[in-house]
């Protein structure tokens, strides 16, 4: 089985005035289909930058990002958009639910841009039911708790049937009970075959994953490229 995602000797530098910040320095990583990986480390260690590079949201200053074995460095903006649409589901700490849309409409939103008309509403209803929100379909975000909003965001990330779920601090804004629910949900999704990469400070969530990568000052402390199929 080939790698789903791979970072090859990737560096990312930012410039702040005359200062150059090495967010990531020659990092390599391989992600197999169905893997559940946590990236942990102190603030400023480069976790989120790594996630952005994996999700083709940002480009490396050096090195190569490969999706299903193909380098993405020379892809046009339109091709990258298409790639994100087909391969990735994103979950953010801030949820990014549209305040004027219902939970159901929020879940349907990515399908609108994917030009998918194949029973989108039914799939959205099914996804919301699967995250325990079948009673909240027509509620607006302001009528939902933090945990419910995150579950809507997870359902939304799944509407286009991605191969990888990229989650940045998915439990960061949740109390412990809701965080627990979200962790259980992510575990279940992984057991169903979805590859997941989470950036987290939550130890319980990190423990729930199959592989934990420790990042500090732009370097992995404990891992080079993982063997395929781990």
């Amino acid at each position: 089985m080939s790698d789903l995602l791979e970072l090859r000797d990737v560096s990312k530098r930012y410039h702040r005035g005359s200062e150059t910040i090495n967010a990531l320095d020659r990092v390599s990583l391989r992600l197999a289909p169905g893997e559940f990986v946590a990236i942990v480390g102190p603030s400023g260690s480069g976790k989120t930058t790594l996630l952005h590079l994996l999700g083709c949201v940002d480009c490396p200053s050096q090195g190569e990002v490969l999706v299903e074995g193909r380098g993405v460095g020379r892809l046009s903006d339109a091709r990258l958009t298409e790639l994100r649409r087909k391969q990735f589901g994103f979950i953010f700490q801030q949820f990014y639910l549209m305040p004027t849309l219902t939970a159901l409409e929020n879940v349907e939103l990515p399908a609108l841009f994917a030009r998918r008309n194949d029973q989108v509403r039914e799939r959205a209803q099914r996804l919301l039911a699967s995250v325990g929100l079948s009673e909240r379909l027509y509620h607006h975000p302001r009528q939902l708790s933090g945990g419910e909003m995150q579950r809507v965001a997870i359902a939304r990330a799944l509407i286009n049937e991605p191969k990888v779920l990229l989650a940045d601090e998915p439990t960061g804004n949740l109390d412990s009970a809701n965080a627990r629910q979200t962790i259980d949900l992510l575990k279940r999704l992984n057991q169903e075959g979805l590859a997941i990469v989470v950036v987290t400070h939550n130890e319980e969530l990190a423990r729930a994953t199959a592989r934990v990568l420790h990042l500090r000052d732009g370097h992995f402390l404990n891992a080079g490229p993982a063997p395929v199929g781990t």
Binding site: T48, E82, F90, Q94, M98, T100, F113
Partner: protein, 386 residues
């Protein structure tokens, strides 16, 4: 879920801001409808009035056609007169079916509050103005007076009443009142020509002569023949119409300037609203880009929001423009140098179509920059806020 539905819901986030922008667009659209309807309506009303009048040619003293138009239609006054013998000569010209003389004078009322316009006319005017409907009778003697509908209303006189005009120090019997024509005639005092000549000490003089030709296809030949008479200037009703359109040119220019200001203010308002919304939602656009929205999708979304505002405002403006057309006309009439009878504002389908297309075009124009800017938002904008 559709893109237009999403655009509408986005606009609903800031209801007050959206409503104010729609109102701004609506006002601009109403102005546009009014001005386009006036441009079309005035021209049509003038053509209809000149066509109805039965006067095909106007003969006045030598001068510019502007003076002639002003004199005959608006009741202006210049110290130049034709001799009565000219009327006889005009009537004798081949191709002239009917000709009638006018002597026009304006007199300030003793209290200085208004200027009364007196028209000395002959019986021929009844042929030259076939749209006149007189309540009562035609002139009986030199003490008879016929009042325009508005003049009768102002003087509070009915047929058979006596009317003492202090400005002329003379009492008349109101023998007839014109039914409202919607033209300047409504404000005039009509006297027998000889009476007017005596009162204004212009015996045997005329201000102008109205001519009806037997065959309209030979109008130019008749005009050429009339111009062989000494010291006369002949204008066709068509030229008269052009001159009058020239009179209102200044008014139209002013209205166009007001319209331009309204359109610019409206466009800037739309631009400001949409740009503000686009800037506020950078992280959101970034998120949409993360989940697969292309640059074109984001631009389309912002343009749809702009078009929704402009189309809604445009339609509301159209309705306001149509609903208030008669009120706008009431306000405009007194401001015009010459106002023909009939509706001056005619907001027909063509006018409404042009106005709506213009407002949608304005929306597209105003939305281009915010749409472009929103489309440039990188997916990083979403994650940068994390």
């Amino acid at each position: 879920m559709t893109l237009i539905g999403l655009a509408a819901k986005n606009l609903a986030r800031h209801k007050a801001r959206t409503v104010l922008t729609v109102v701004g667009v609506g006002i601009a659209a109403a102005c546009l409808v009014s001005i386009l309807a006036f441009d079309r309506g005035y021209r049509q009303a003038l053509q209809e009035e000149l066509g109805r009048s039965g006067v095909h040619l106007f003969v006045s003293t030598e001068g510019c056609p502007l003076e002639a138009a002003s004199l005959i239609l608006h009741g202006g006054e210049i110290p130049k007169f034709l001799n009565m013998e000219r009327l006889t000569q005009v009537k004798a010209v081949q191709g002239v079916k009917e000709a009638g003389g006018f002597l026009i004078f304006s007199v300030l009322t003793p209290d200085g509050s208004r200027v009364d316009l007196f028209y000395g006319v002959t019986d021929e005017v009844r042929t030259l103005k076939p749209n006149w409907k007189v309540q009562g009778s035609w002139f009986k003697d030199e003490h008879s007076i016929i009042l325009g509908a508005e003049a009768a209303r102002v003087e509070k006189r009915s047929v058979g009443d006596k009317l003492y005009l202090a400005s002329l120090d003379r009492e008349f019997e109101v023998v007839g009142i014109l039914n409202r024509t919607g033209s300047q005639d409504d404000s005039f005092f009509f006297l027998p020509l000889v009476t007017a000549q005596t009162l204004f000490r212009k015996p045997g003089k005329l201000t102008a002569i109205g001519v009806q030709v037997s065959d309209l296809s030979r109008l130019q030949q008749v005009k050429d023949r009339l111009e062989t008479l000494p010291d006369v200037y002949v204008v066709t009703s068509e030229q008269m119409g052009q001159e009058i359109m020239g009179f209102v040119g200044g008014t139209k220019a002013l209205m166009t300037a007001v319209l331009l200001v309204a359109l610019i203010v409206s466009a800037v308002g739309v631009l400001n609203t949409v740009l503000m919304a686009a800037v506020e939602r950078q992280a959101e656009f970034g998120y949409l880009r993360c989940v697969g929205a292309g640059r074109a999708d984001v631009a389309r979304l912002v343009l749809l929001e702009t078009l929704t505002v402009c189309t809604t405002g445009g339609l509301i403006g159209l309705l306001i423009g149509v609903a208030f057309a008669s009120r706008t006309e009431q306000w405009m009439r007194p401001l015009l140098v010459y106002a023909p009878g009939g509706p001056l504002l005619r907001p027909d389908a063509g006018v409404l179509g042009i106005a709506l297309v213009a407002m949608v075009g304005l929306g597209l124009l105003a939305g281009l920059y915010p749409a472009w800017r929103a489309s440039r938002v990188s997916p990083m904008e979403a994650v940068r806020n994390e």
